[in-house]
């Protein structure tokens, strides 16, 4: 009898515990959530609406297809407030579901906000436990940041993912934009002598049409998202955008460029175009005298000939050797342009400060306070080593053969 009572008690206790097993205090069912794929931050119109924040929310039904109504795959919710979180709250009120930030891929900051400084607005992205440090950061160049998030894209339904992929594809071979995540930006802002670097982004084409499905209907898209330059900062204030050679040089200095194209002008309509690969850059310094540090940038790269319209006989190694020199010169120019630009802007976003600190920590402490005057006077030596392994699938060019016939 006693044993039975005990058993009964045990049974009751266990079923009581089972009750606890079902619930998770923090659970939010998926159909109560709206996944935010991207966040954009614009300058608000008035003082008490300092930020105007837009959230690109994935409409799950449109993505999966089954219950699709054939509408836009994402929706933009917009709110404004004195802080990002207040704006988030205001935007959330318009949504039937809980906006969840955990999966946002991109953060886009408008240029005019970036010029005023981004220190205040980065905090939430670091602090908020839902957000990931691996979220990418962009600056919308000359446009409102929310416009970037309202373009229908060709590959993939979610515009934010499209932007991420464009960045990665570009970095792989042609572009000089590279992955810049929240923590990279924060480290950049924190460096007193330097500044952050953030990818620029623009919408090319018709902004109005970009947000509608008509953007995808024709073969030529009416509006396209595009990476545009690297925004360089002095601490947290945007100074300039670096494009072209300067942008490429910047990416090279940071050792973020693994592959890039390079064209050699060889005079009278002749040129050779190469794809540079296995690029590796290292920066060291000789800072025995921290007042006059000498910076050494050295780059190793290999080149593959992609296009050649000249008449030189490139089955001779001497020609290739000469080209290697010219290529090195060309790369050197790009790096030099980036260094000069940084010195002109007087912001050490190319991280010479860290290099000097690394080799001479004691000396660095002495000059730390007036690094901005020393930085611009830094002696910089750039050494580039290029190797052309082969000329790909042909030796002499089409042109040289034609001339041979005549």
């Amino acid at each position: 009898m006693d044993g039975q009572v005990l058993k009964l008690w045990k049974l009751l206790a266990i079923s009581g515990l089972l009750l606890l097993q079902t619930g998770c205090w923090d659970s939010v069912e998926l159909n109560r959530r709206a996944i935010v794929s991207g966040v954009s931050i614009d300058k608000g119109l008035t003082e008490d609406k300092r930020y105007s924040v837009s959230f690109q929310v994935i409409v799950a039904d449109e993505i999966t297809g089954k219950n699709s109504r054939g509408n836009a795959p994402v929706a933009l919710y917009k709110g404004s407030g004195r802080s990002i979180y207040e704006a988030f709250g205001n935007a959330s009120r318009q949504s039937a579901r809980i906006l969840s930030l955990g999966h946002s891929k991109v953060i886009i900051i408008s240029e005019d906000l970036a010029r005023e400084g981004i220190r205040d607005l980065m905090d939430i992205f670091e602090r908020e436990s839902d957000m990931r440090l691996s979220t990418l950061v962009f600056v919308s160049r000359g446009q409102r940041a929310e416009d970037i998030l309202s373009v229908m894209t060709i590959f993939g339904k979610i515009p934010a993912n499209d932007l991420v992929q464009k960045l990665e594809t570009g970095n792989r071979s042609f572009g000089y934009n590279f992955r810049i995540e929240v923590d990279d930006v924060i480290r950049g802002i924190l460096a007193k002598e330097g500044g952050a670097i953030i990818n620029g982004v623009i919408v090319k084409g018709d902004l109005e049409a970009g947000g509608t499905k008509s953007n995808l209907e024709g073969i030529k898209p009416k509006a396209i998202l595009k990476n545009a330059g690297l925004a360089v900062f002095k601490q947290d204030k945007l100074m300039a955008f670096q494009d072209g050679t300067e942008g490429m040089g910047l990416s090279l200095i940071h050792n973020k460029q693994k592959e890039y194209p390079l064209l050699l002008e060889l005079g009278k309509n002749e040129s050779a175009t190469f794809s540079m690969f296995k690029v590796h850059t290292s920066v060291t310094a000789n800072a025995k005298d921290p007042e006059h540090p000498v910076i050494y940038i050295s780059t190793q790269q290999q080149a593959a000939l992609k296009e050649y319209n000249g008449s030189l006989d490139i089955s001779k190694s001497s020609v290739l050797r000469n080209w290697e020199k010219l290529l090195s010169e060309e790369t050197k120019k790009e790096i030099d342009a980036a260094v000069k630009a940084a010195m002109r802007l007087n912001s050490d976003y190319i991280r010479f400060n860290e290099t000097v600190n690394r080799v001479n920590p004691k000396g660095w402490k002495r000059v730390k306070g007036r690094w901005d005057t020393i930085f611009t006077q830094c002696e910089v030596h750039i050494k580039v080593n290029t190797l052309i392994r082969h000329t790909e699938m042909r030796t002499r060019s089409l042109k040289s053969s034609g001339e041979g016939v005549e």
Binding site: C24, W25, D26, E126, S129, R132, L133, S134, E181, D183, I186, R187, L190, E354, N357, R358, V359, P361, W364
Partner: protein, 366 residues
């Protein structure tokens, strides 16, 4: 109670899991900035040194826990007072660690869950294991250690392959000289987590192979030191020292950066698991030490003390502070001013008195 025997491997894993505990995930030694990993390693060496003191006492009284030989050395009344103090500090340690763990869990993952519920779940599981006995605790630690090392291995590999680690962030090595490192070691690093090994003075008598005991515990401390130091190093190379310094839970941020393209992502859950596992062993060992001390002192059966102690631990942990910030502030003070009394001052007194007595009793016949 007396027939409990814990094997060397199991004892090793228990010490290792205890040492890793919360130290693996929380911010350790960051007063030393980017040299934190050096500070941690030095702290570990100091911890081993401190342990040799306990070892001396253990050799004199291989069958008695701290609560036993304290009374043997200091005499019954004074000894009893000291043992009560130790019981209190053990309970406090368990409570503090439980608060640490549940607060971090609530901060990072379970935002809306009441902290009391999280803590209650933890103390329940610890109480259950202790009810099953210390051997079960030790064996559990062995099984879980294998899991933890696997998780650690996976995370480490991922960090290497994801290319997020930048070794240059560690440089300049000792850029501010040895002073901040030494300060950090002195202030708290040797104590947290390495000095905390003093709880094991309560468990040493249950060690199966007394001869090997001398080596097992220090080697576990060393292993833990290397692992924690390496973790700090990874944190700094991935995030940079400033961000680690400002983060109460740096490993979580570090691991959230790890990704192999879009394929393997979101390993944060592994870190949260590490936290829960670590807190479990930390609390269980302190809790066990407290229970043994009380039962030994008052001659009460071990099992009847489990529930009352659990309640004390739960509420002292919950009521010690209003917020996590306050809790950490208090913790820092405890580590600098209170814990050293128990891990160093009292043991040193015990060693001196014991050595003196030993010397006298040996010299008397001659």
């Amino acid at each position: 109670m007396r027939e409990i025997r814990i094997g060397s491997v199991h004892f090793f894993s228990l010490v290792l899991m205890f040492e890793l505990g919360t130290a693996l995930v929380v911010n350790v030694g960051m007063e030393a900035g980017r040299d934190a990993w050096i500070a941690i390693f030095l702290g570990c060496l100091v911890g081993m040194l401190v342990y040799t003191g306990y070892n001396y006492l253990f050799k004199l009284y291989p069958d008695l826990p701290l609560s036993g030989y304290t009374r043997a050395i200091l005499g019954k009344p004074l000894g009893a007072v000291v043992v009560i103090l130790y019981a209190v500090i053990f309970l406090n340690g368990a409570g503090r660690d439980m608060r640490d763990g549940s607060a971090l869990l609530v901060m990072a993952a379970l935002n809306r869950t009441p902290i009391l519920i999280v803590a209650a779940m933890m103390i329940l599981s610890c109480g259950y294991v202790l009810h099953k006995g210390l051997e079960v605790l030790a064996r559990t630690s062995f099984i879980i250690m294998v899991g933890v090392l696997l998780i650690g291995g996976i995370i480490t590999l991922l960090m290497f392959f994801s290319g997020e680690m930048e070794w240059s962030r560690l440089q300049p090595l000792l850029g501010d000289g040895i002073k901040p490192v030494a300060l950090s070691v002195i202030r708290s690093n040797y104590m947290f987590p390495f000095g905390e090994v003093f709880c094991f003075t309560m468990l040493m008598p249950y060690f199966g192979d007394k001869k090997r005991a001398v080596w097992v515990v220090p080697s576990a401390i060393l292993a833990a030191g290397l692992i924690i130091s390496f973790t700090a190093l990874v944190n700094i190379t991935v995030l940079g020292s400033d961000m680690v310094e400002r983060s109460p839970f740096p490993l979580l941020a570090t691991v959230s950066k790890a990704a192999l393209s879009d394929f393997i992502q979101r390993l944060d859950v592994l870190v949260v698991m590490l936290l829960i596992i670590g807190v479990f062993f930390k609390v269980a060992v302190y809790y066990g030490a407290a229970v043994i001390a009380i039962s030994d002192l008052f001659n009460l059966p071990y099992r009847t003390l489990i529930i009352p102690s659990a309640i004390i631990i739960l509420f002292s942990g919950m009521l010690d502070s209003r917020s996590f910030v306050e809790h950490l502030e208090e913790g820092a003070e405890m580590l600098t001013f209170v814990y050293p009394v128990f891990t160093i001052v009292i043991p040193v007194v015990l060693i001196i008195v014991a050595a003196f007595r030993n010397y006298r009793s040996r010299s008397r016949p001659g």
